[in-house]
Assembly symmetry: C2
Homo-oligomer: 425 residues x 2
């Protein structure tokens, strides 16, 4: 049974949240995406909230400077949402920008600077030419060394980490495939997901299409066979194939937080923030011999569990940063859910499925829900909030077993990591 007496709260609570539809939307810009997430968030506050009650706005965004040629998003978004003249700041930490924005917002409430803060994450990526997307995302690495001299792209970074991991711990591609299969299964019941299809659904669609064209060479019995077919799942950067990689996504996510002591003015099912902790690491090239584990994930996890006064085994569900399938396996080990080297086996055994002991990425994860980079850290917490407040609709996990959720948001190859722990009220 659970740890309500033992756990320690930050004194800050979530009273509402929402994500925009995730996908690729040619005619939407970042303001449109934010507007969609924000208006739905306002509606999600059970007892209502006036815009005039909002004290401050935090925006997590990675590189709108490049994608849309627009910086200084804070005041523009505030103005767009009718929140002028409240303070508005953009926080950037590559793909962890959303987690950082959330953490700064919690600080603002804890400091007494604000009573009610809105946290937004957003990224508009899909209208940009693919080679430029790659350049822009590379700005999360140490460009002068890793990119300009090392010619690394992000799939390549995670490919070398995966290779080292697979060799050290005897993991196979099957373990990686299972991450994709599980997360697509979860996304198939998430209407906001960019790819809300299971791998089986994708496989059956392709099969029926190929059968219609008289091509009956395909003979996939299951998803693993489908994902082993190079025509269906081409190589990106060995050992990573297409279905090991999160897609390019447009999307926004939004949360409203306030002091725990006044949260019941807005809803009876608020969610307490026990901890939101952050750590840094040097660039990948500086890690030395072992690149099978992300130091900032370990450091942030230790801080977060200490701060919340709980242990990894207390957690009931987790959203982790699966930008590539091996990243999920490293994450569930680095956080402390599984011993080092056991994450892949646990995944293959179904322990992180929605019916398993520890559902991981019930939203579909970055892999299938989509990965609008600045939005991701906020969207993870929206998912936890909706599950812990019993508002997750068709993918709601059994309420009785849900008390504690953890979000794990990584920037770059782990230069930045934010881990937040939430508890149902």
């Amino acid at each position: 049974m659970h740890t309500r007496k033992r756990s320690k709260s930050s004194g800050v609570a979530i009273i509402g949240g929402a994500v925009s539809q995730f996908g690729q939307f040619e005619s939407f810009n970042s303001r449109d995406l934010v507007y969609e997430a924000f208006t739905e968030t306002i509606k999600s506050v059970d007892k209502g909230i006036d815009l005039a009650e909002i004290d401050e706005l935090f925006i997590g965004n990675f590189t709108n400077d490049s994608f849309e040629g627009q910086a200084h998003l804070g005041h523009l978004i505030a103005d767009w949402l009718g929140l002028t003249p409240i303070p508005a700041s953009r926080i950037e930490g590559a793909c962890a920008s959303g987690g950082l924005a959330f953490r700064q917002a919690v600080n603002s409430i804890k400091a007494g600077t604000s009573e009610i803060a809105v946290v937004i994450g957003v990224e508009k990526m899909a209208n940009t030419e693919l080679s430029l997307v790659q350049d822009y995302l590379s700005k999360a690495a140490d460009v002068s060394i890793e990119v300009d001299q090392g010619s690394f792209t992000f799939p390549a970074f995670y490919a070398v980490m995966a290779s080292a991991y697979m060799e050290k711990y005897k993991m196979t591609r099957k373990h990686l495939m299972k991450v994709a299969i599980k997360n697509h299964d979860n996304a198939s019941v998430n209407p906001k997901a960019q790819i809300n299809l299971s791998i089986r659904q994708i496989m059956e669609k392709k099969k029926s299409r190929l059968n219609q064209t008289g091509n009956n060479k395909v003979n996939w019995d299951d998803e693993f066979q489908f994902l082993s077919d190079l025509n269906q799942n081409p190589l990106v950067s060995s050992p990573l194939h297409l279905f090991d990689c999160a897609p390019i996504t447009d999307g926004a996510a939004c949360l409203i937080i306030t002091k725990e002591e006044i949260a019941s003015r807005f809803t009876d099912s608020y969610v307490n923030i026990l901890a939101t902790e952050q750590a840094s690491a040097g660039p990948l090239y500086s890690w030395g011999n072992d690149i099978t584990s992300i130091p900032s994930s370990r450091d942030a996890a230790i801080k977060a569990f200490n701060s919340a006064n709980i242990t990894p085994s207390d957690i009931d569900l987790a959203e982790v940063h699966d930008c590539f399938t091996p990243a999920e396996i490293m994450a569930i080990e680095d956080i402390g859910f599984f011993p080092k080297g056991q994450g892949g086996h646990a995944t293959l055994a179904g322990e992180t499925e929605k019916t398993g002991d520890l559902p991981v990425n019930i939203s579909g994860g970055l892999k299938a829900k989509g990965h609008p980079v600045g939005a991701t850290g906020v969207a993870q917490i929206v998912e936890l909030w909706s599950q812990l407040s019993n508002k997750a609709g068709t993918r709601q996990l059994s309420k009785e077993r849900l008390n504690l959720g953890l979000a794990h948001n990584v920037g770059g190859t782990g230069g930045t990591c934010v881990i937040s722990i939430l508890e149902s009220n």
Copy 2:
């Protein structure tokens, strides 16, 4: 006499600070600039500080994504300075990025998240082709409307504001020139300033050079005549001329802050942070009929004076955001130092000179000290700290009269404004 009993502190204090040399440095990147400012800051802590005591790092930076093609500066700078694995975040609010980073750092201390935080501001601009610099800086405006459709650049924004102001309040170019003359005078005794020459020194140099070449047509009796000579002070965007505009600058600035109750462990001359308040405004096109005053400056000032429990007349010195000369005049009115329409006259009368009642931009201001955009908000506070702690060297104002200082940092045309008020210990 002053208001020490009446004023209210945030509970956070500054224990050290420094700026790098400001200028244009072909062979320095942003990490070099930060390293220079940080190491001097560490040395500035009277009783010493261990790097291991630092809990968190905040970086104010505008658009390194574009200037250096490098985002995710937080962890890179932390690693460069030997601070891994502490949390490190980049905050962006155009030219107010430094002020925002300072404010978030204060929040972190107030929240109890950190005990000791480092705030850094940095921008590396001068290696970039000038037309691209213009494009990058324009990202602070509403690009889709003001830049793409309105063809505005930043000198043009401030030119229309200045034109409206000059018409409404019968101000002349002489008032603007006086801002430049005063700030260059101040910068002439600031060894870190990009242009540490008075206008008179520049004039005399030019005179002697022209006289040597046999050209004796020039006949400037004073700085106003010199600045009226279109050959010496060419038009940029009417009514703004070259000497009305801040230069393109490489530079970094750094501060260390901690809880007031432990500040004396580090120095006996710490400086208390009474307030750091922020406000937003919509883009310039949304302001309606009056563009002679910046709404976010007024809003942030009211909040800051309320929070500190003092009035504008209590302030002994101010660093204000003089990206263009008219901006200083609008600032000293919007903050409440002078009635609307009187800022230019007060400036011309010498009231804001270092010998006047209210020294403004004793550092030389953005105009002459230089304006490395992300560093500016931090550098302003470094200047106040050094004056209030009696460490300003050759430009130290008389210690007896200095108790309260104010920094005013603006992003874009006022989309973001941060005002901080400091008090000597």
